[in-house]
C-alpha cells in the first residue's frame, strides 16, 4: 500500500506547490470532500446538483454492466463451446467474429444509437458486444485445449456427446472461461462509461461527461475513482467464484 499513498502525496504536493496549472486539477482533499457530498449529501436542498446522487448513478451503471455482461456470457460461452468443439461451426462463425472483433466499441456508438436510440438498449448492446469477444475467444481456446486422453477416457466409459460436452469439455474449459469472464467484465466497465457519455442520460459515464462540461473536475476525478473501485470489486467477485469452482486446480498448483 506504500505506492498508492506516495502517489496521493505527490498529487497533493503537485497541486499545492502549483506544479500544475491552477484550477484545472483539484487537490486530493477537494476531490474527497466533493465525493463525500456526492455520496452522502442531501439530495434536494443544496446548490450542488451532484449532492446525494452517487448511489443512484452507481446502481444505473452497475445494473447495465451486470445485464450486458450476463448477456455476453449467455451468448459467448455456449457459442465458444460450439466453435471450439465443432469444426463446421468454427468455419461458419469464426471468420465473422474475427472480422468484427478489431472494430472498437467506440466505433459502434453511432450505429448503436441509430438502431436502438438514446435508451438502455444502446448501452446494453455496446457493453454486451464488448464483453462478448474475450468471453467467446477464451471459451473457444479452452475447449480446444481439452486433453485428448480425457475425451477418450470419457467415451470409453460410455459417455455420449452430451455427457462429453458437459462433464469433460465444459469442465476442462472452465479455467479459460473464467479468464474470459474477467477480461469481459473489464471491457464491460469501459463500455458502460462510453455508452453513458453519449447514448443514455444516467450513470457514472453521464455524470463524468456532464461534470466535465460544467467544469467540475473534482467530480470527474471522483467518478474515475468510483469506476475503478467498482471494476476492482466486480473482478474480485469473479475471482472468488472461480477459486470456489476450480478448487481442484488450486490443489494441482500446490502439488
Amino acid at each position: 500500500m506504500a505506492l498508492p499513498l506516495l502517489l496521493l502525496l505527490l498529487w497533493h504536493v503537485a497541486v499545492t506547490r502549483r506544479w500544475v496549472t491552477e484550477g484545472i486539477i483539484p487537490a486530493p482533499a477537494q476531490v474527497a470532500a466533493s465525493w463525500y457530498t456526492w455520496i452522502f449529501g442531501a439530495s434536494t436542498q443544496t446548490l450542488s446538483p451532484y449532492s446525494g446522487t452517487w448511489m443512484a448513478n452507481v446502481l444505473h451503471s452497475a445494473r447495465r454492466v451486470f445485464q450486458g455482461f450476463l448477456l455476453a456470457a449467455a451468448v459467448g460461452i455456449p457459442l465458444g463451446i460450439f466453435i471450439g468443439w465443432n469444426r463446421l461451426v468454427a468455419r461458419v462463425v469464426d471468420p465473422s467474429i474475427q472480422l468484427l472483433r478489431p472494430v472498437p466499441i467506440t466505433a459502434w456508438l453511432p450505429f448503436a444509437i441509430a438502431v436502438f436510440g438514446i435508451y438502455d438498449a444502446s448501452a446494453l448492446f455496446l457493453i454486451g458486444l464488448g464483453a462478448f469477444y474475450p468471453i467467446v475467444v477464451n471459451t473457444t481456446h479452452g475447449v480446444r485445449d481439452t486433453n485428448l486422453l480425457l475425451l477418450r477416457a470419457a467415451r470409453m466409459l460410455g459417455a455420449g456427446p452430451a455427457t462429453v460436452l458437459t462433464k469433460v469439455v465444459f469442465r476442462s474449459a472452465l479455467p479459460s472461461i473464467f479468464t474470459g469472464l474477467r477480461l469481459g467484465i473489464g471491457v464491460a466497465w469501459t463500455a458502460v462509461i462510453v455508452a453513458e457519455m453519449i447514448a443514455v442520460k444516467s450513470g457514472l459515464g453521464y455524470v463524468l461527461w456532464d461534470a466535465y462540461y460544467v467544469g467540475r473536475m473534482d467530480i470527474c476525478v471522483a467518478t474515475m475513482f468510483s469506476v475503478g473501485l467498482l471494476g476492482l470489486i466486480s473482478d474480485q467477485v469473479i475471482l472468488r467464484v472461480a477459486q470456489l469452482v476450480l478448487r481442484w486446480r488450486a490443489l494441482e498448483a500446490h502439488a
Binding site: R152, R155, G158, L174
Partner: protein
C-alpha cells in the same frame, strides 16, 4: 460354429497421414486372444503396440483388416472394453469417488446398484478413505489405482492396459503389478497389456506377443508356462529366467535394426 475369440485382429494395418507423407504404424497384424487370457504385447518403442491397443479400444479405425471383439467388429469406444491409460487420465475436477462412479452414472444406473461394488473395489485397490480426494492430491500409483477401479466397476469383457505402470518408480511398479495379479486372479478377465518391460510381461501374462520394429507386425507369440498364483518370487525362478533370456534376444533383434 466355434466360439468367437475374445479379441481377434485379422490382417490389420494402420497408416497415419503425417503432413505430406504417410506413416505405417502397424502392418498385417494377425492376433487371437482367448477368453480370460492375459496377453502382453511386447516390443521396442515406436513399434505400434499402443496403436494395436487403440484399435481394439475403438479410439482409432484400422486402414485395413478387421478388429473383432467377441466376434463383433469394433465401431467405437465403449464400456465393454475398459482402458487403463499410461497417465491414468483421471478427470482432475472430480474426486476419486466421482471418477470411479463416472461410468455407472453415465449409464444412469441407480446408486444402490453400483455403490456396494464401488466400495468393494476401493477396498480391493486400497483407496478406502481417499474417496473425497482430488487426483492432484494423489501419488502416481494411487492415480493408477483409481484408473483401474473406474474401469473394473464397468465389468468390462476386455481390459486394455497401455503401459499403465510405465511412469511409476520401481517400488510402486512392483506393488501395482502384485495388485493387478490379485485383481486378475479374482476377476479372470481378458487382458491386453502393452509394455516394453520384459519382466513385467512375464510376471503378469499367459502369453507374450513380441512385435517387430516399425512397421509393427507380430514377430512371435510365446506362452508363459509359469504356475499361478504368481508373486515377485516368481521372477527368481530358473524357468522365469529362461523365458526372460529368450525374450531379451528376440527384442534385441528388433531394437538393433
Amino acid at each position: 460354429m466355434s466360439v468367437a475369440a475374445a479379441v481377434e485382429l485379422q490382417d490389420v494395418g494402420k497408416e497415419f497421414a503425417a503432413r505430406d507423407r504417410r506413416v505405417v504404424a502397424v502392418e498385417a497384424i494377425d492376433l487371437v486372444i482367448g477368453h480370460n487370457e492375459f496377453a502382453a504385447i511386447l516390443g521396442p518403442s515406436g513399434c505400434g503396440k499402443s496403436t494395436v491397443l487403440n484399435l481394439v479400444a475403438g479410439f482409432e479405425r484400422p486402414t485395413r483388416g478387421r478388429v473383432l471383439v467377441d466376434g463383433q467388429p469394433v465401431q467405437a469406444p465403449g464400456p465393454r472394453r475398459g482402458v487403463v491409460f499410461q497417465e491414468a487420465a483421471l478427470f482432475p475436477w472430480y474426486t476419486v469417488l466421482d471418477n470411479v462412479t463416472f461410468g455407472p452414472k453415465t449409464r444412469r444406473l441407480a446408486p444402490a446398484a453400483y455403490l456396494p461394488k464401488v466400495e468393494s473395489l476401493l477396498d480391493l485397490v486400497g483407496l478406502r478413505g481417499f474417496e473425497r480426494h482430488y487426483p492432484a492430491e494423489l501419488s502416481g500409483g494411487m492415480k493408477q489405482r483409481v484408473g483401474i477401479a473406474r474401469v473394473l466397476v464397468m465389468e468390462p469383457e476386455v481390459l486394455l492396459m497401455d503401459e499403465p505402470f510405465g511412469s511409476l518408480d520401481a517400488q510402486t511398479r512392483s506393488v501395482m503389478q502384485e495388485l493387478l495379479l490379485g485383481v486378475w486372479e479374482r476377476h479372470q478377465q481378458t487382458v491386453l497389456f502393452v509394455t516394453h518391460d520384459i519382466e513385467e510381461a512375464l510376471l503378469l501374462a499367459d502369453t507374450v506377443v513380441v512385435m517387430t520394429a516399425r512397421p509393427g507386425r507380430v514377430k512371435t507369440r510365446i506362452p508363459v508356462d509359469l504356475p499361478r498364483p504368481r508373486t515377485l518370487e516368481t521372477t527368481m525362478s530358473p524357468r522365469f529366467n529362461d523365458l526372460k533370456r529368450r525374450l531379451l534376444a528376440l527384442v534385441r533383434e528388433e531394437s538393433a535394426t
